[in-house]
């Protein structure tokens, strides 16, 4: 049972344009939603997060949107840069019960930004 899905395995974008990465989840009890970025041969690095009580969080070129009714999370990167080329993982956490401390990750989306 996959609780977090990133349905697009890859995304290709031109430099300067917007990149939109999407993530769907099934459990309405999730408390926090995060995005991580991973370069080859490196571990994932934290990018941005959003609490379930908000619908938008912005940090520089990165904005995360949360649509709780649709159980949908998206990451917008504007403007996209070649250095943004990486694998992007969405992750969710349920702060309560047996899931506490456990981040559940999506499968990842490979973003390629062309100069």
């Amino acid at each position: 049972d996959q609780q977090v899905k990133q349905n697009s395995p890859s995304l290709s974008v031109q430099e300067g344009r917007i990149s939109i990465l999407n993530c769907d989840y099934t459990n309405s009890m999730f408390d926090y939603f995060l995005w991580y970025k991973k370069y080859p041969a490196e571990g994932p690095t934290f990018l941005i997060s959003i609490s379930s009580i908000k619908d938008k969080n912005e940090d520089g070129r990165f904005t995360v949107f949360l649509n709780k009714s649709a159980k949908h999370l998206s990451l917008h990167i504007v403007p996209s840069q070649p250095g943004d080329s990486a694998v992007y993982f969405c992750a969710v956490v349920n702060a309560g019960g047996t899931s506490y401390g456990k981040l559940t990750f999506g499968q990842g989306t490979i973003l390629t930004v062309h100069p």
Binding site: D31, Y32, G43, F46, S49, F89, V93, G101, K102, L103
Partner: protein, 114 residues
Amino acid sequence: EAGVTQSPTHLIKTRGQQATLRCSPISGHTSVYWYQQALGLGLQFLLWYDEGEERNRGNFPPRFSGRQFPNYSSELNVNALELEDSALYLCASSESGTLNEKLFFGSGTQLSVL
């Protein structure tokens, strides 16, 4: 400040053997997490240690085990290795009790089971 360090970088074992992977968290972090990333899959949660105790584990068989030492470093042991255990094993650390679960990851140990 040193990040999360993992050793070895690469590990080659044969089926049935045991593998031991090591992780040192960021100084001041008391929580250590282990994740498995098999080829083509996302990160699968394995184990969470905090203050020397196992706090949670994912849906993996008991031959996946580990421990956390008094200095908060951690070991992941995989017994009776199977071919499908070949994967990148990532360790992460965080400050204990942070609700938003911002994790800092190491670069991983690539385990190959032949």
